[in-house]
């Protein structure tokens, strides 16, 4: 089954996901601002050949808006996952320096994990006054603890590895040991960690935006689209609610698959 050729499968799903992402980015470049163009003669039109996924209350094409929303989610998720991984890496390195720092970092981790993610996200977004930047920072700040724990354990183990001990005994500096011996080992962990964070980051961004704490309602983010759809639910305008969420689910699933395959292959 799936254990047969993990590397091939990983390469395949990497290829598919890359193609999808490239298509997404290219579509944003090609489409321009068609996600915001209103057609007042086609308001709330159901899906048809002219309007592929239907239109919203202002006659804007839902497919264009969904694509724009996915692209937004992608960038926000990328930045947040990258930032979060950097935080995790630096705090894990910090924690292995001394027992006191270790205790401090684990207290910070416990504190962050004890508040429900969404509430913490809301508090941080509130503190930063909302907006795209606030969402990215909030998601980055809340998602690093698990990865930091993995990296810390890995670092502690690596510190005791014979080649590191020998290198230290030969009088190499801490910095040399860190970047020549330890970091190369941590890179695959960071890569997989960031990929695992990415779907969570996207989902939390959408949730935060949906509740009204995230991206501004003028942007075609998936959370905004679904919050708008809420207002038209009882009217039976089902396409407004179904398609944006489905697109988001597809993106999350493809990244989830990719990270699973990569983890097995590496």
């Amino acid at each position: 089954m799936s254990e047969a050729q993990p590397r091939l499968r990983a390469a395949l799903s990497l290829g598919v996901t890359t193609l999808l992402v490239l298509g997404l980015v290219a579509s944003q470049w090609l489409l321009g601002d068609s996600a915001q163009q209103m057609q007042f003669d086609a308001r709330l039109a159901p899906p048809s050949l002219n309007h592929w996924l239907g239109t919203d209350a202002l006659g804007r094409e839902l497919w264009a808006r969904t694509l724009a929303g996915l692209a937004l989610s992608f960038w926000v998720g990328c930045l947040a996952a990258l930032l979060s991984t950097l935080i995790a890496l630096s705090l894990a390195a910090l924690a292995t320096l001394s027992p006191r720092l270790d205790a401090l970092v684990s207290l910070v981790i416990d504190t962050l994990l004890s508040v429900p993610h969404l509430i913490l996200l809301m508090l941080i977004a509130f503190a930063l006054g909302g907006g795209t930047q606030a969402v990215i920072i909030a998601v980055a700040i809340t998602h690093w603890p698990r990865l930091a724990r993995v990296l810390r354990a890995e670092l502690l183990q690596l510190r005791q590895a014979p080649y590191v001990l020998i290198s230290q005994a030969l009088g190499k500096s801490r910095w040399f040991v860190l970047h020549a011996h330890l970091l190369p080992h941590l890179i695959p962990h960071c890569l997989v960690g960031a990929l695992l964070l990415f779907p969570h980051a996207i989902l939390h961004e959408a949730a935060l935006t949906f509740l009204g704490f995230g991206l501004s309602p003028s942007q075609p983010a998936i959370g905004v689209l679904l919050a708008e759809a809420m207002r038209y639910l009882s009217g039976g305008y089902w396409w407004l609610g179904v398609f944006p969420g489905l697109a988001l689910l597809m993106m999350v699933l493809s990244f989830e698959r990719l990270s699973n395959h990569l983890r097995r292959a590496l």
Binding site: D110, V115, P116, L118, I119, L123, L211, G241, L248
Partner: protein, 326 residues
């Protein structure tokens, strides 16, 4: 004796973590660009002179430094006063109390449902790896693990409330009726869909985890030995698997309370269910700082106690750990 020492140590840790939560959330509120006086006054802001503003700031203690304000707040907190919520015009403790009563029904039943269903699905899937049942259950769990909670809720409303008309679209009872007069049946009718949606999402993690534990057991020497003695798969799953997988599942169920609460915020928002989650969103959007702080602390307590139980369950239930040292 060792157990009590362990629990005492964890309680101290819990107090420390809660203090940190208080510090962090207070710091975040102080950093917010939203002015609490503006938020309190609302549209009346224009009618208030700078002198009156200064008076309000003085009365509320905003002219003091952040550290002194934190001290004030902490002292009030210890004496049981969480402050006044201007959105609901009630003491914060009362708002949280009332709202939590409604939320706990939703959370509790969804939690029980997801734990039981998730565990049984996980056992069923893990009992025979690669079977059709296993594939179906794994795929289901894999997909729901990545589904946005609020989207699933929207789909549920679309299908069951709008299209089929089986369940009401919103709220905890029919509109226009006093909450005391809502019958139990109608209450339940309003609860069915939110509870099911919340439970469906919670199932995934427990199922995947239980399945992994079952697979581990099925490949272990214990299972091989049992099979060699002629035991059937059902026997092994029933006699060895259940025990092997139940403890981690229970731990996971308690540890996932935070996620469950996060999901309930989104689901209460979609179903307009007047619980604690909806109050959180209202507090955040309308800058009700005391209520937001109160909810942050309350949920942190809720989640931490869940984690505490999860950690202690191992020691209480599993005799191997009790004797072998943790």
């Amino acid at each position: 004796m060792r157990l009590t020492a362990l629990i005492a140590k964890r309680l101290v840790r819990l107090a420390l973590v809660l203090l940190c939560v208080a510090l962090v959330s207070f710091g975040l509120m102080m950093a917010s660009p939203i002015d609490p006086i503006d938020a309190y006054l609302g549209p009346q802001m224009a009618q208030v002179s700078p002198e009156q503003r200064a008076l309000i700031a003085q009365r509320w203690g905003f002219d003091e430094s952040a550290a002194i304000q934190f001290g004030h707040w902490l002292r009030q907190l210890v004496s049981g006063d969480l402050g006044w919520s201007h959105v609901y015009n009630q003491p914060v403790s009362e708002v949280i109390g009332q709202r939590f009563q409604r939320s706990i029904i939703l959370l509790g039943s969804a939690w029980l449902l997801s734990a039981l269903l998730g565990f049984s699905l996980g056992v069923a899937a893990g009992a025979k790896e690669g079977s059709k049942l296993d594939n179906a259950i794994s795929t289901y769990a894999f997909i729901t693990a990545s589904t946005p909670a609020f989207w699933l809720a929207i789909l549920a409303v679309l299908l069951f409330s709008v299209t089929l008309g089986w369940t009401p679209t919103c709220c905890a009872g029919p509109t226009g009726i006093l909450s005391q007069e809502v019958t139990l049946l109608s209450r339940l009718h309003h609860l069915v869909l939110p509870v099911t949606t919340l439970a469906l999402l919670g199932i995934a993690t427990i199922t995947l985890h239980t399945r992994a534990r079952m697979l581990e057991l099925m490949r272990s020497a214990v299972a091989t030995h049992a099979f060699a003695q002629g035991a059937s798969r059902l026997d092994v799953a029933w006699r060895h698997g259940l025990r092997h997988a139940s403890l981690p599942a229970m731990t996971l169920a308690f540890a996932s309370l935070g996620e469950l609460f996060g999901g309930s915020i989104l689901i209460e928002q979609v179903f307009a269910y007047p619980g604690l989650g909806q109050a959180t969103v209202a507090a955040g959007l309308r800058s009700d700082v005391p209520l937001l702080l109160g909810i942050a602390l309350f949920t942190a307590l809720f989640v931490s106690v869940g984690n505490l139980i999860a950690d202690s369950l191992y020691a209480v239930i599993d005799p191997r750990i009790q004797s072998g040292g943790l």
